[in-house]
Amino acid sequence: MDKRTKFTLSEEEIPRYWYNIQADLPEPLPPVLHPGTGNPITPDDLAPLFPMELIKQEVSTERWIEIPEEVRDIYKLWRPTTLYRAHRLEKFLDTPAKIFYKYEGSSPPGSHKPNTAVAQAYYNKMEGIKRIATETGAGQWGSALSFGGACFDLEIKVYMVRISYDQKPYRRVMMETWGAKCVPSPSNETKAGRDMLAKDPDCPGSLGLAISEAVEDAVSRDDTHYALGSVLNHVMLHQTVNGLEAKKLMEKLDVYPDIIIGCIGGGSNFAGLFFPFVKDKIDGTKPDLRIINVEPASCPTLTKGPYAYDFGDAAGLTPLIKMYTLGHGFIPPPVHAGGLRYHGMAPLICHLYRLGFVEARAEHQLATFQAGITFARTEGIISAPEANHAIKAVIDEALKCKESGESKTILLAHSGHGHVDMAAYDAYLSGKLHDYEYPREMVEEALAQLPKV
């Protein structure tokens, strides 16, 4: 095994194609039905928001989609990204496991998001679009799209949830430095925003409202489109540039991961790394490959919570669904077809989870910060709090290897640095975050309320 710490490709080796997993799914994604007509959506339905090339990519089943040379040229500003061997973390854990991480924090905005932001900006530019509107929460996506817009001389308008706008001024300054216009949502610039401000002038905003404002902005102007930073199929597609690089690097090292781990919110960061590998699991080449999606315990889209129970359809296909009761005997009706799993999570990842190709686990906040501190003190990188979820799972798997004596190869999808998230680290380091033991009587009370299935 190579003893080096960093493994890189040349600029010439930046992938020339994105990998489209829809070509290799054993079952296709179910079609999205128009909420008004009940018929499958058509390109025209999405045309007010997206350029036609992206709409084609959203539904394409072509395995390889060429990366435009103009996009590859911009990628060269930070790609290929480095694959690291975490020698110091391995030593600290005293594990026989071999830990690798593909680090996306070297991009100008500091995360994986420009992989799609640059591509989306390019396709909009090619279609003659002058402006793109979007929403942002913490500001990572807004920053990435602002950078992408600067690359192709597009005007970018970012509706930033007001509570975040007030809390994270440096994200706003980053966007403005790249030439974007960032306004707090609710704003006076859309009807949705004005309506909300009329009701509540001090409204702190929400992601839902910011999306409404950005979509309204895009629909109301012919020169404007909308962009989304995660969840959609074309976003996952663009992110695969990272996984393809990782695969090529590992091939050069003559290693193949036993376990791939990444954090999931909308899913695009991890999908970008694991899609090119899960192909090998789907086709039977690497049946033992484990792919672990790690999510916050407070947002359990894939993992089941303490109230989860199986309403079980006859075919056994209905997934466990978390439901809440009002107590006092009221049992809500079951929700079928995995609807709850599709909230804010990429349908492609949910689909692979349902088919059994990937696993999921949830981690609590405090433990993830502890893992992030360990990573910073061994590998040096102060990670985004989201990435710390995956780091926690990597450490757990490496410690299992220590117990079993197995020398497994673990690959971590590291989504980016946490330099604009130091307030969160401050909260952890100053002891504001704490563990909480769920009272036994509350668990018993909750269990007593579960429906008998």
Binding site: L207, V219, L326
Partner: protein, 88 residues
Amino acid sequence: MEKYDHLEIRCPRLGGEVTFFYCRRERNNLPCPHIIDCWEMYFPVEKYLSSKLSREEWDRCFNQAPKNKVMTLIELIEAAKNQKQVPD
């Protein structure tokens, strides 16, 4: 202010600190759909909310299957088109 409104946690969706007051009004004065998952570690949030919400509000918050993102976008497109035709 209500009993728990001052409590603060990091919101995994927004990537920043929010108060319980924010979470319980996040969706047009109704709770965020994740509020129980986020807060159940800290106090009996489900019991608290069940005492504050009507059954209809409860169902709207917690017992409706969320839409696929594309469907949500299409609904927003339709709403924006309609707003275009109706001036403020």
